[in-house]
């Protein structure tokens, strides 16, 4: 980094204690907008994980990681020692961590957007080398990347564990490479859908607690409504209610996508194709992105 000589070469006067290093102009690299967006992504991820904040901010993300990864490692370990023990299938694993991923998103998404609005730091961001859309893009990217660390990474570990405990790990890896692609696609879709919807909710309130509550309640209540309707209604139209429950949509998609034999009754009754579920999830992501973008569009305010 090249620094030009200080402008202030005068000896410090009695008010100059804070200036006696002299001010140095910056003649080094200016990386512009891409650097600004990258910085915002990294900074947002760190803040959401509680890095460089008090320990209380780190507790919940840490516990969620533990609850997603530790049982997996234990299961891989047991399988290595007792080979005849059946491993949990990918679909069972995804079903098991769905709620954890939901709580994880409910924890990080409000941290991404609500805090900047509550603390009124948005004018500082918009006065920097980014556009409003860059801001939204960076927050979406930060949320999706972080969520993938809890939805994709453990699933990849599961795949790896399954191959490593087989008799011939290398050939097992080659034979099952298709499964790896599928778990990555499934984990990434879950992360993107939950992440964008979490941000969409967080973009309407500046109170973190409200956003957290709405996200978790929506996840639980909508799933319950779907289950109840499938239980009590005996008409063909009830099948569309599966789209209310993200949990069931994910479950249906993953089971059909990965050709799992045991399909739950609810998914059987709904009877939609894998492509329909896929397009629905992509549609949710696009709708979520457009909504957040609209919330942050410039408005004429005096």
């Amino acid at each position: 980094m090249a620094i030009s000589p200080p402008v202030n070469q005068q000896p410090p006067d009695r008010y100059g204690e804070v200036f006696d290093r002299g001010y140095q102009h910056y003649d080094g690299k200016r990386l512009g907008r891409p650097q600004a967006v990258k910085s915002l992504i990294i900074y947002s991820m760190k803040r959401a994980m509680g890095i460089r904040k008090s320990w209380t901010a780190k507790v919940l993300p840490f516990l969620l990681y533990i609850s997603a990864i530790v049982p997996l490692i234990v299961m891989i370990g047991i399988s290595a020692i007792v080979p005849q023990m059946e491993f949990a299938s990918y679909t069972d694993y995804f079903s098991g961590i769905m709620l954890i991923v939901g709580i994880f998103v409910a924890t990080i998404a409000p941290e991404m957007l609500c805090v900047d609005r509550r603390e009124k730091t948005l004018p500082l961001y918009f006065a920097r080398a980014i556009s409003r859309f860059d801001y939204v893009f960076a927050k979406l990217a930060a949320t999706a990347i972080l969520t993938m660390t809890i939805s994709v990474v453990p699933a990849v570990l599961l795949w790896l564990g399954r191959q490593l405990v087989s008799d011939s790990p290398w050939s097992a890896m080659k034979d099952n490479i298709g499964d790896l692609g599928k778990v990555i696609v499934a984990g990434a879709l879950i992360a993107l859908v939950l992440g964008t919807l979490g941000l969409a909710v967080s973009s309407v309130t500046s109170r973190k607690g409200v956003a957290v509550t709405i996200i978790i309640l929506a996840f639980i209540i909508l799933t319950s409504i779907t289950a109840t309707i499938f239980e009590i209604v005996d008409a063909d139209w009830k099948r569309y209610f599966i789209f209310l429950s993200l949990f069931d949509v994910f479950d249906a998609f993953i089971r059909q996508y990965m050709n799992t034999p045991n399909i739950p009754t609810l998914v059987q009754e709904a009877d939609f194709s894998t492509l329909t579920y896929f397009l629905y999830m992509v549609g949710l992501v696009i709708a979520g992105v457009l909504f957040v973008r609209w919330r942050y569009a410039p408005r004429d305010e005096a």
């Binding site: 402008v7 001010y23 650097q35 600004a36 009124k120 730091t121 005096a302």
Partner: protein, 325 residues
């Protein structure tokens, strides 16, 4: 860049505004403003609602004007908004800081948000926080800071990326008299010592008179005046002098040379000397007496045509013109 800092008079204007008009529905916030602002310490003066903030937001490329155009540090605000903001700093009036982060982390992040690489950003954040007097406190969480310290963090983030121009929106708002005086000194140094052009928005005449050498006055969204403020020696007559050290001895010495001196008190309670300068040699004498008595001159400005006079005459004139329409 350092060349233009060294020769402000020869530098091209930092802001060039042509026919800038902004309407919010039926309300006209800016009436076809034409304005050229030199590289200087510029006061943007006007009552609340005069259009100061709208003008600053337009110049930052954050709001789209209804008509007209503006160029800031050589970039078009509408087509090159991010480029403008890469080279310009902004200190908002409102409390706008993240509480659960340290001053050093936040200011470094803001430097990166202006495009500086991470390592340079951290180094400059530490340096600039030192410049604004937050050397020891920079690793503390901002939520424990006083209003004055928060204002300093806001100032630091506005200059950390070494901008060519910085917009300061009411930087003295909410400060006690001592904090206000310290903030004004910092603002003065940004242009005088750091070489960064300043646009300082305020509704307090005295603040602008103390730190600015050029003034732009807005009234009801109209440009009422855009002119240099009387500098030393521009106008002979009464000058106001603020010194550190033994003020009475200094005044006595000047009187001994036959120069009329009176001690007065300004609006914030600080003592000032009102000196009658009948010719330019008086300024030399003031300098020589200050040197001989080891006294630091804090400020020296003309009283012949104060900012208040300019404000009253120009704002009065625009209102009369408006009523005559």
């Amino acid at each position: 860049m350092t060349d233009t800092h060294a020769h402000p008079a020869a530098a091209p204007p930092v802001i060039d505004v042509q026919g800038l008009r902004k309407e919010f529905g039926k309300f006209v916030a800016l009436h076809d403003i034409n304005l050229t602002i030199p590289r200087a310490s510029v006061g943007l003066l006007g009552a609340n609602g005069a259009g100061k903030s709208t003008l600053i937001k337009s110049l930052l490329g954050l709001i789209k004007p209804t008509s007209g155009k503006a160029t800031v540090v050589g970039y078009d605000t509408q087509t090159q908004g991010t480029r403008v903001r890469e080279h310009v700093g902004y200190m908002p009036e409102a409390d706008a800081l993240p509480m659960a982060t340290t001053a050093a982390d936040f200011v470094a992040h803001m430097a990166e948000m202006s495009g500086l690489p991470a390592r340079a950003a951290r180094q400059r954040a530490a340096d600039v926080l030192y410049q604004v007097g937050l050397a020891e406190e920079r690793y503390r969480l901002i939520k424990g800071f006083s209003t004055g310290m928060k204002q300093r963090v806001k100032l630091a983030q506005s200059i950390v990326h070494d901008p060519e121009l910085v917009f300061l929106d009411e930087p003295t708002a909410g400060l006690d008299p001592k904090g206000r005086e310290e903030m004004l000194e910092l603002v003065e140094r940004i242009y005088q010592h750091l070489g960064i052009a300043v646009v300082f928005s305020s509704h307090i005449l005295e603040d602008i008179e103390l730190v600015c050498d050029y003034v732009v006055i807005l009234d009801g969204g109209r440009l009422a005046a855009s002119q240099p403020l009387g500098g030393i020696g521009d106008v002979l007559g009464q000058v106001t002098l603020r010194v550190d050290g033994d003020q009475d001895a200094f005044a006595g010495k000047l009187s001994a040379f036959g120069i009329p001196v009176e001690t007065t008190e300004n609006a914030s309670g600080a003592l000032e000397l009102a000196v009658t300068a009948s010719d330019e040699r008086v300024f030399d004498l003031i300098r020589d007496v200050a040197v001989s008595q080891d006294i630091a001159i804090r400020s020296l400005r003309s009283r012949s045509r104060s900012l208040e006079d300019i404000y009253l005459s120009t704002v009065g004139a625009t209102r009369e013109a408006e009523n005559g329409d």
